[in-house]
Amino acid sequence: MSSSVLEVRRGAYRDSVSLMQVSRAVSAVDGVGQALVAMATELNLDLLEGLGFERPSAAGPNDMLVAVHAEDDDALRRGLARLEEALNAPAAAGGDIASGTPPRTVRTAAAASDATLALVSVPGPNAFAEAVDALDSGLHVMVFSDNVPLAEEIRLKDLGAERGLLVMGPDCGTAVVGGVGLGFANTVRPGPVGIVAASGTGSQEFMCLLHAAGSGISHCLGVGGRDLSEAVGGRSTRQALAVLDADPATELIVVVSKPPAPAVAAEIARYAATLSTPVQLALLGAGRDDLTAAAAKALAALGVEHGGWPSWRPAQAHPARPGALRGLFCGGTLCDEAMVIASATLGPIASNIPLEPAWALPPGLRAPGHLMIDFGDDTLTAGRPHPMIDPGLRLARLADELADPETGVVLLDVVIGPGAHDDPATGIADVLRAAGPDRPHVVVSLCGTDEDAQGLDAQARTLTAAGAEVYLSNAEAARRAVSLVGGSGPEPRTEPRTEPRTEDGTDHGIENGTEHGTEHGAEHVIEHGTADRDDRAAGTEGTHA
């Protein structure tokens, strides 16, 4: 049963060439005999009659004719559907002829690409606009920027949730999605652990430790430092947990955060219990596991054995001297963890991110005694790049601390990986050398992997060559620094034992390593030259220096 339609669309002008293409597209539909889509000019009205249609009474050159013959109603429907498709096909957004204008907003960039994700790192007061654009364009968004008002964060996360899009941040330093490092990240082998991180450097430390132990991650989704606060209520954490729970590559989810507000912690724990993937909460703070211990637990849960964490010593041991511990950090969580460890032994640590309000540093960030500064804190990055990108501010302070007769030990973090400075170690090494032989002891917590472009080992060697001690584990570095300033606390748990490995190597397993101090297996000893157990005379042999 053949079927036909004739329609006159008033005032719907298209140029004749486009309409010839549309006609061809409709004619090509299976079951469509003939199709004429054209403006109602005299010529086209004649053609219409030629196709056996009656000439419409009132149709002029500004009106569009749609005339289709098809073998049945179904074919006609298909033909008309194809017609709408062809008429409404958007023009390529490029118009690539001599295109010389790069996109000026996330919206236009999204329209011109196949993007799935936006990474926003404009100044905090401007971040909201770009992030909203991303969500409006259907993109997930990572907001690296800090100094974003709390209300804007909540609004963004609500908007994201409404649209099924994840908002990582604001103040999200790190994410790894599908093996791609966003912001400051590390090149970590694929593995079973999915990380949800309210802490950028905390998650970097965590994934680097997993990597060093031979494991790896599926994804690391940042949520921003404030996500688990009472006000934000874990909005992104819940979403990230759900996304990872649905991810077949993720066998264990680890939430890395400072302790959340109690109500939020309870809510997240409740939510986590509903998931099919086990969730480990690695909540950092006094009296809790440090990141190194948490990593060991995760490895244990996965049944991964490892033999302790690498460290590197200088060829020439630097003489210890009494004095204050001065910690200069890029990573807020690394700073926080070091303070928790140090204050357990040394008492108050003054800081711009103090553990106790009474320990706050005055505005000039100078004080006698032990202190630790997070150079990545909001107040120090307003209007200035992050210290992982631009080390200048911290290097200047490093020179000051090395010249200060009060300083006993300087503790530093060095973070490498995608996003970070190409060679942070060299700048530090230069300052160490310039400080002369009588400078204080320097201990470095090096966060990275052997797959990072800067080269974990190369960075470590540059630092040891300038006389610094280097540890992959931040907790170990902190304990070492505490012991060097003569802290009366336990010996740092960094040193390898002299006991021989058991044949099957089980004493390098998770339980021992985390509960009783990490052990360096023979391979690590050789590889990283940390065979000497006496820390004060360390590094006389076997180093790479």
Binding site: G11, Y13, D15, N62, P90, A91, A93, G95, D96, I97, S99, T101, P102, P103, R104, T105, V106, A109, A110, A111, S113, D114, A115, T116, L117, A118, L119, V120, S121, V122, P123, P125, F128, A129, E130, V132, A134, D136, S137, G138, L139, H140, F144, S145, A151, E152, L165, V177, G178, V180, G181, L182, G183, V243, A246, P385, I389, P418, G419, A453
Partner: protein, 470 residues
């Protein structure tokens, strides 16, 4: 506008838009990730908080979608030609003018010249001096065209005896009006008021107006949107070039013009006048644009610009989300090409309601469609393409009815978003004629102009105030 792409985050390797630190762009490129970097610049100074509040307004996205949806749905038709006394109900002594409100004391040369000419034309004064005295004494009733659903190019002065095109938006059932175009050179809208100006106006009222009225009534509604769509494919942009549009309009009504029982010499004069005035169609596409933008008005939370207009002293804009309020700043002197011996020193600041064309996405926004006049934008076709492409950054939609062939038939950038303007610092590009600054001079050139940034920053501040807290 929202495009809920909603791609699952973890199933595919990401493709990333980056905005901010170059370092992260490089880092992604080093990881062999597809990256589209944004060429980001800070927003206009002092606007970050207002912007955040406006962008967080939960009404915004939907309000803009509705407002611009109505703009795109507008279907303007020329339905009648009538004197302003009938069409606008204008009484003797009442005048309409271009731009935001202004009084005689602050009026520029061309605005004063046009008002003087209109007084003479209406017989309210015998000499320019007398007209000026009346006007200076406040004995004329001045009000913007925009307040009466009308638009006027340049000075935009309308008096009761002038004839008006009457357009109807058949989708929304609304009407808008614009005077008949007088041609170029010494004309009232550019502030000239000599005898030849007034004589021409008299002929237009006595002969041209009635002929057009009869022709349009005999023809029935003339689809103006269809002509605009075609003129953009024939080298016009609808503001500084209207040649194809004018000829298509003439083609449309010519049979009815001829068929009317008017003296053939009058018909010949009328046809000669229309065909010889490349801007005749401007006064038809302007009210078409006015209808489209009026359809977008009064949507709470919307950041859509619904009018840009200049009175020769102030540049003003109106925004859908804040009703009839004008945000004004000092009108700028256009940057352009000058006729004969005239130069920039002779130019009056920007004037006219014709920026309604850019407001609706043609004119300067469709510059890429008009390679013949690229001299206005730097001389090369690439400049014209870039000019249009830049406008996509500050607009809410692309008009499927108005397409630019050289951009692969992409729809013109339509619906200026004050928030986008403030964010990017990209100001709307307006093509315009340039009036002499001394009353009575007439046109001295044509060129390009942008609004003062303060119109947009003030509008965003007002929208922020009207928005709920973030």
């Amino acid at each position: 506008m929202t495009d809920h792409r909603g791609v699952p985050l973890l199933t595919a390797r990401p493709s990333v838009v980056t905005v901010g630190a170059d370092l992260f762009t490089r880092s992604l490129a080093d990881q062999a990730v597809s990256v589209t970097p944004v060429d980001w610049r800070p927003p206009m100074p002092g606007t970050a908080d207002h912007l955040a509040r406006v962008l967080a307004d939960p009404r915004r996205d939907e309000a803009n979608r509705r407002a611009v949806g109505r703009v795109l749905a507008s279907t303007p038709h020329l339905v009648d030609v009538r004197p302003a006394s009938e069409a606008l109900g204008l009484e003797p002594g009442q005048f309409r003018h271009a731009g935001p409100p202004i009084d005689w004391a602050r009026a520029s040369g061309p605005m004063r010249g046009a008002l003087i000419g209109a007084m003479l034309f209406e017989g309210l004064a015998d000499t320019p001096e007398e007209a000026e005295a009346h006007l200076a004494a406040g004995r004329a009733d001045l009000d913007p065209c925009h307040h009466h659903r009308a638009v006027g190019p340049m000075a935009g002065v309308v008096s009761p005896s002038m004839w008006m095109f009457e357009l109807e938006d058949t989708t929304h059932g609304t009407r808008a009006w614009c005077s008949l175009n007088e041609g170029l050179g010494k004309v009232l809208r550019y502030g000239a008021y000599g005898p030849e100006v007034v004589d021409r106006l008299r002929w237009m009222s006595a002969v041209l107006g009635p002929l057009l009225r009869d022709a349009v009534r005999a023809h029935g509604p003339v689809d103006i949107r269809a002509i605009i769509a075609q003129m953009l494919q024939m080298g016009d942009e609808g503001h500084n070039r209207n040649r194809a549009g004018t000829l298509m309009f003439l083609r449309e009504i010519l049979p009815e013009l001829v068929a009317a029982q008017a003296p053939s010499s009058d018909v010949a004069d009328a046809v000669r006048f229309v065909a010889g005035n490349d801007h005749f169609f401007l006064n038809l596409d302007m009210p078409a644009c006015k209808l489209a933008m009026d359809a977008g008005r009064d949507e709470p939370g919307s950041t859509l610009v619904v009018a840009m207009a200049r009175n020769g002293t102030d540049f003003g804009i109106q925004v859908s989300g804040t009703g009839d309020r004008w945000y004004t700043g000092p009108a700028q002197v256009p940057d352009g090409l000058y006729l004969g011996a005239y130069g920039p020193d002779d130019a009056n600041p920007d004037i006219g309601d014709s920026a309604i064309t850019e407001t609706a996405g043609i004119g300067g926004f469709a510059m890429a469609a008009a390679p013949a006049i690229v001299k206005f934008v730097g001389g090369e076709v690439a400049d014209a393409l870039d000019a249009t492409r830049r406008m996509y950054e500050i607009t809410l939609a692309e008009n499927p009815a108005y397409q630019v062939p050289v951009l692969d038939f992409r729809g013109t950038p339509t619906g200026i978003d004050v928030a986008k303007v403030v964010r990017t610092g990209i100001l709307p590009q307006i093509n315009t004629g340039i009036a002499g600054k001394v009353a009575g001079t007439g046109q001295v050139g044509a060129g390009l102009v942008t609004p003062p940034a303060s119109c947009f920053t003030e509008a965003v501040a007002a929208l922020a105030e009207a928005a709920p807290p973030v």
